[in-house]
């Protein structure tokens, strides 16, 4: 079962500029939650606060019942959090499979000496992890590319590699930053079905996404952010009908 995420009064400012003001919402365990808003609304900053890459100036962030406010990213992995990045951070010269294997790092047993000696248990663990990584690649539709260098794939597919890598962490809470940007039509369809299957397994997923068609197809609830503040919360359909949301997007009416 996935984790519950609760944010209360999260504030973030950089040098006096308020990036996030008093943001709070609750993501129910096992639901898919959308974070929507115009460019610069603070969506990615909010992700960075949740994942520990930014330290908010005040507020509370809880995963299930644990307060994770201000924890370093490395500690958050231990709370079952995994994320992808808006600009995929992959090892481009390594193969797709090697990139995905990284996500399973903490589950591999053995000291450096055991791996250098290639003891049987490390060989076995590596073999099992590879099998799991291939299955995960299958899930995101990239098994065919397992042995290609990551830089041979398109930018859109890099997001899918990141998704696979994040899934290898066995997260209870998955943060996806613009996962569908740059994907082809077929790849978007595949992505939507992947998220739906994650939801059916009970994983909690939070998505930042501009593509409203994706948002309305996969999310249970959404929060609309504008200028670092929560504008409204509800279902995707409610959001799209809300006049405040339409106004917030006026500069770019076709985005909503």
């Amino acid at each position: 079962m996935g984790s519950r995420l609760i944010l209360e009064g999260v504030n973030l400012s950089f040098g006096g500029v308020h990036v996030l003001e008093d943001v709070g919402f609750e993501v129910a365990a096992g639901s898919v939650f959308g974070l929507v808003g115009p460019n610069g609304a603070g969506k990615t900053s909010l992700f960075n606060c949740i994942s520990g890459h930014y330290r908010p100036s005040s507020g509370s962030i809880r995963i299930d019942d644990a307060e994770v406010f201000g924890l370093a990213p490395g500690k958050l992995a231990g709370h079952g959090l995994a994320r992808t990045f808006q600009h995929p951070a992959l090892q481009l010269e390594a193969t797709v499979l090697e990139n995905v294997l990284l996500g399973g790092h903490t589950r591999l047993p053995g000291s450096a000496a055991e791996w250098a000696l290639r003891l049987p248990r490390t060989v076995r663990a590596e073999r099992e992890l590879r099998a799991e990584a291939l299955d995960t690649l299958d899930r995101v539709g990239l098994r065919w590319a397992a042995n290609d260098a990551a830089d041979e794939l398109s930018h859109g597919l890099h997001k899918s590699i990141e998704l696979a890598r994040a899934l290898m962490l066995h997260p209870g809470l998955l943060l996806l930053d613009e996962p569908a940007a740059g994907l082809s039509h077929g790849e978007v369809e595949h992505f939507i079905s992947t998220v739906k299957s994650l939801r059916s397994e009970g994983m909690t997923v939070v998505i930042v996404e501009h593509n409203m068609s994706v948002i309305s197809q996969v999310t249970d609830r959404v929060v609309i952010l504008d200028h670092g503040k929560k504008l409204m919360e509800g279902t995707a359909a409610e959001a799209q009908a809300d006049p405040r949301v339409i106004e917030a997007y006026l500069g770019a009416p076709d985005a909503a």
């Binding site: 490395g74 951070a89 990284l102 790092h105 450096a112 791996w115 250098a116 000696l117 082809s184 501009h210």
Partner: protein, 367 residues
């Protein structure tokens, strides 16, 4: 050329190439001159040192400018106990003790240095490690009663008591009678076997769990942390392993030369080792071997032509490599193959996954 590349890409061809080289290295010393054997032995010694530096610098991306310090400390840790204990009741056991200390003590020193230096991000490790040889030399000179200071310490003619009760002069690393080998051949095989084992261990280490962790720490610490990989821990680990390899190279140095002095860990040699690592090929096992060759051969060649030019040549070589061949000599075949392919018009890029249609990315979902 393309045919050659395809050949090199096939696993069996690589194994065959490796086997041929191994056989040559095995047979060669039996017929080569003493000078050739000693040169190859020294290349193997410094290939291990470069391999250690590669683990921290090439694979983990942490610049260490003081790696020779650990080679020098390892050499002292090997030669001092051997000199004190060899012969008598423990005989060859002294060499084993020397080998163990040459790995353990540099490892502990490296761990302590890394625990402090790695706390600072970025280039602090480079800025601190550059001090190691500069501090190490005066420390070695200060303790000259055990290190021999400038004159150094040698085990080429050690007193020992033989079974007949007489005292003889001997060298712990001269060939035993049963081997039927000359001294240079014996030292060659001893160094080669240990170096090969150390290369094998490193080969496995830089793959799998630890190799991937080192690589992501080098590429992006933020992502590493997100994967539950602590950049601090892995940098400390890489530096410690590198120090142990440096120490092991120090032991091999004693096997090859049976002598060391404060000159071994000098600042100039430390810089040369960094240069050799990059010229050979950072983050590459083959590059480490080539780096060992660069370290030994470049000064040997320039000394033969014009001794004053050694340093200038090293400076020019490293800058040229950085400009023209950033992957070092180890990347040369790959770079040449790519050039050649491009010259032929760029077709036949990679046929391995030609069954898959090219992914077209024309539709932009972000309106």
């Amino acid at each position: 050329m393309n045919g050659l590349r395809n050949l090199v890409d096939r696993p069996w061809a690589r194994w065959a190439l490796g086997a041929v080289i191994a056989i040559i290295l095995l047979v060669l010393p039996l017929s080569a001159t003493e000078f050739t054997n000693q040169t190859i032995t020294r290349i193997a010694v410094f290939a291990v040192a470069v391999l250690g530096l590669n683990i921290v610098m090439g694979y983990t991306g942490q610049v260490s400018l003081g790696h020779i310090f650990f080679v020098g400390v390892g050499a002292y840790c090997a030669i001092i106990p051997i000199r004190a204990l060899w012969g008598g009741s423990i005989a060859e056991g002294a060499i084993v003790i020397g080998f163990a200390l040459a790995i353990i003590i540099p490892g502990i020193v490296g761990l302590i240095v890394a625990l402090a230096a790695v706390r600072l991000r970025g280039l602090a490790l480079a800025m601190i490690t550059i001090a190691l040889p500069i501090i190490g030399v005066p420390i070695a000179k200060r303790f000259s009663d055990i290190t021999g200071g400038n004159e150094g310490v040698s085990v080429r003619r050690l007193d020992y008591v033989a079974s007949d009760g007489q005292t003889y002069k001997g060298n712990p690393f001269s060939a035993p009678a049963w081997s039927g080998l000359a001294d240079d051949q014996w030292q060659y095989y001893l160094v080669m076997i240990i170096a090969a084992a150390l290369f094998g261990l490193a080969f496995f280490l830089v793959r799998g769990k630890y190799g991937r962790a080192f690589a992501i720490v080098k590429a992006n610490e933020s992502v590493a942390a997100s994967m539950g990989i602590s950049p601090y821990r892995y940098k400390v680990l890489a530096f410690t392993i590198a120090s142990m390899y440096g120490g092991a190279a120090g032991f091999l140095y004693i096997v090859a030369l049976q002598y060391t002095s404060s000159e071994t860990l000098s600042f100039g040699h430390s810089i040369e080792l960094v240069i050799a690592t990059i010229v050979g090929g950072a983050g590459s096992i083959v590059g480490s071997i080539l780096g060992g060759a660069v370290y030994v051969l470049v000064p040997q060649i320039t000394n033969a032509i014009s001794p004053e030019s050694t340093t200038v040549v090293q400076g020019i070589v490293i800058l040229l490599v950085l400009f023209l061949l950033p992957g070092g000599l180890a990347s040369l075949p790959r770079v040449l193959a790519r050039r050649f392919r491009r010259a032929r018009g760029g077709h036949n890029v990679d046929s391995s996954n030609s069954t898959e249609p090219a992914i077209e990315n024309t539709e932009n979902t972000k309106h």
